[in-house]
Symmetry: C2
Subunit: 395 residues, 2 copies
């Protein structure tokens, strides 16, 4: 009977999905799921079956928190106010349990698999699949002596990589945010389609993207017990620094050598970039500025510098980051691009850090690009736009 | 505050995961999650936070359905009886809502993203990553004129594919089951590691795996309204046949030409195999036996023939499948391998179909391999074993 149930489900999915006149199924739905539905204003209708629940809430990670209404058929439903375009994390809270929506695809975010709904940006096609040559995304595993483990990474290779077997390519290392993983830039960000589309109009150079797992613990390192240690405590800062240092060594000692020996890269600093979002921006600053022998293009998407180095203070150009910002002329000669971006609708605390860094760099006469994404939050629509602006400036 | 919360989560995940003496976190957990935990007997401890719920149940797709117990801290907990080795789909039912476990990785199964827990098979390493040369898994998109859509597929290329640029390879098309998708054989099945390990001991030939999305609707086809049509009704059978026919055309007219023009295949029937599990086995039989000009190796894993052709009757060797079984000598000459497998613990209804086909083939004097996986259910452990037995017989 179980199999019969699944066959019916499959058929129902393919045969019966019908939208109302205004609302249509979101593109982030699993195949055939009628809900969530979206209208042209960006309003989202959601539903979840929870016949015996007392309260069901809808919580967007960055967006409204709403009480859902129980219907007589055991479903709880809601229609949201219009949401800004982009990909929004959300959960249902069913009698106190935070759960994902089985109608939506799950993405890794917030340290778990969670639902997202895509609200399309009217007229924007740069991050969706188009009828242009496509690169391929590869899953690779490399054996890291730094962590003592096999580590999984995603690698985007540009169109024609397989056929133009003499061509070598520059590499952009592109990192996810805290709570996300190496799949984020493909699944949530559509980095592959963004690059396909940019390359199709020759708006950016053909390049390889490498997306690594941004957490690391050194082989043999005993994890500290942080029970009862408050945020910002010396023990917690030490743990964060240990993780950041282990990841830095993994990137520079394991990942880059693996990539350069596995793919047809141009293995020098002039053809190697790194960028990351949020936590990934902080990692990018640390790793690239520690290793200007390896990198010459640097991008911080809604994150850069960050609490480990700067806390809430301004950059001290003379001493921070090994003093690389002390001599603007030398820095401009060495670093081909320093790029910062932030969404105008991000929480003030996040904007404040980026703006402070931007100001500090200006005061220190450090050339850099500062990009503000209009109307977008600390979410993937900001970072898709960042990549679209950043990639054409590379190599 | 949200970001701080995530940073704490990340750190906690890396720093504080501690097992009890007997139970340890499952390998299918998201990073750092303490639960589910498993002991050496295969018992699984699970927990979920649902402070305001009235009832919480644990339902394995194929396994126990159990009531969970509420603890004073708002968590509901349970320890299962010992489970057989393998990868088990499960959900929590929280006050009537079927939800996945945010502590476990999610996999696509049952038409949604759902939790699974891996119960290791003692002493078995054939389906886990080992220190051997690894193939790469590529994600590709092909434009199907049959469906009028971009379709996503997974392609495994063997170790050294990139460096031995003159070598061409045979191809195994490998299909998922109903409710699963093209990611199943990698995520759930570990087909890439199985082949890596087999190749490392020269137990199977180097080959390419292609894993397609097993659902299709013909371009422009209007989906029928199946509302109120019972299972097995003429309308539903017609819908299933339409989907099967569209998928058959997609494989033969879009996918195979794409694969043969994109990868270094040996593009002939002697070097092309197809196998699938459950629904994928049914599809394999239909597609390969309709196209013996394209395929010469055939595998049915816990599924073959199936309701669309055979329903609950025996095979009629003279007439079924265009009469390909009518002449055993001709069939044996044409088809290098016909392989059937089923787990001994699968539901009787599923075993019955396979056993009936096996008997029918014997009566018709059709050479074939029949493999029974000891102690395993209609689940991935059966299909991993199937692939381990099947692949070495190919090419």
């Amino acid at each position: 009977m179980k199999l019969i149930g699944i066959v019916i489900l499959v058929l129902a999915s393919f045969c019966c999905a019908q939208g109302s006149s205004d609302f249509h199924p979101a593109e982030t739905n699993v195949w055939g799921a009628d809900y969530p539905r979206i209208d042209d204003a960006g309003r989202v209708q959601l539903r979840v079956k929870a016949p015996d629940a007392t309260t069901v809430k809808l919580n967007f990670w960055s967006g409204p928190k709403l009480d859902m209404e129980k219907q007589s058929d055991g479903f709880w439903t809601i229609t949201t106010p219009p949401l800004v375009p982009g990909l929004h994390y959300y959960v249902f809270n069913i009698d106190g349990a935070e759960v994902s929506d089985t109608n939506s695809r799950d993405y890794f975010g917030g340290g778990k698999y969670t639902s997202m709904v895509e609200v399309p940006e009217p007229g924007s096609t740069y991050y969706s699949i188009q009828d242009v040559p496509h690169g391929q995304v590869r899953e690779v595993w490399y054996n890291s002596k730094v962590t003592g483990t096999w580590r999984h990474a995603m690698v985007y290779l540009p169109p024609n990589y397989d056929t133009q077997v003499k061509v070598r390519y520059p590499v952009l290392y592109l990192q996810h945010g805290a709570g996300e993983d190496e799949t984020g830039w493909i699944r949530q960000g559509h980095a592959n389609f963004i690059l396909d589309n940019l390359m199709a109009t020759k708006s950016c150079k053909p390049m390889i993207l490498v997306m690594a797992y941004g957490y690391a613990r050194r082989a043999g390192q005993v994890p500290p017990d942080l029970t009862g240690k408050p945020f910002g405590s010396p023990e917690m800062m030490k743990a964060m620094q240990d993780m950041a240092a282990a990841f830095e060594d993994d990137v520079t000692q394991a990942l880059i050598p693996y990539v350069d020996s596995t793919f047809r890269t141009i293995p020098d600093r002039d053809h190697r970039a790194m960028a990351g979002l949020s936590m990934g921006g902080m990692q990018t600053f640390q790793i690239t500025l520690d290793h200007l022998d390896l990198f010459s293009y640097i991008g911080g998407f809604s994150g850069a510098g960050g609490m480990l180095v700067l806390g809430n203070r301004k950059l001290d150009a003379k001493t921070d980051y090994n003093g690389v910002f002390a001599d603007p002329a030398a820095f401009a000669k060495k670093v081909h691009l320093l790029w910062l971006g932030v969404g105008t609708k991000e929480p003030e605390r996040m904007r404040a850090g980026l703006l402070r860094l931007h100001d500090s760099l200006n005061e220190a006469h450090i050339q850099h690009v500062f990009y503000e994404s209009p109307g977008t939050d600390h979410e993937w629509q900001t970072w898709r736009r960042d990549l679209k602006d950043f990639a054409p400036r590379l190599f």
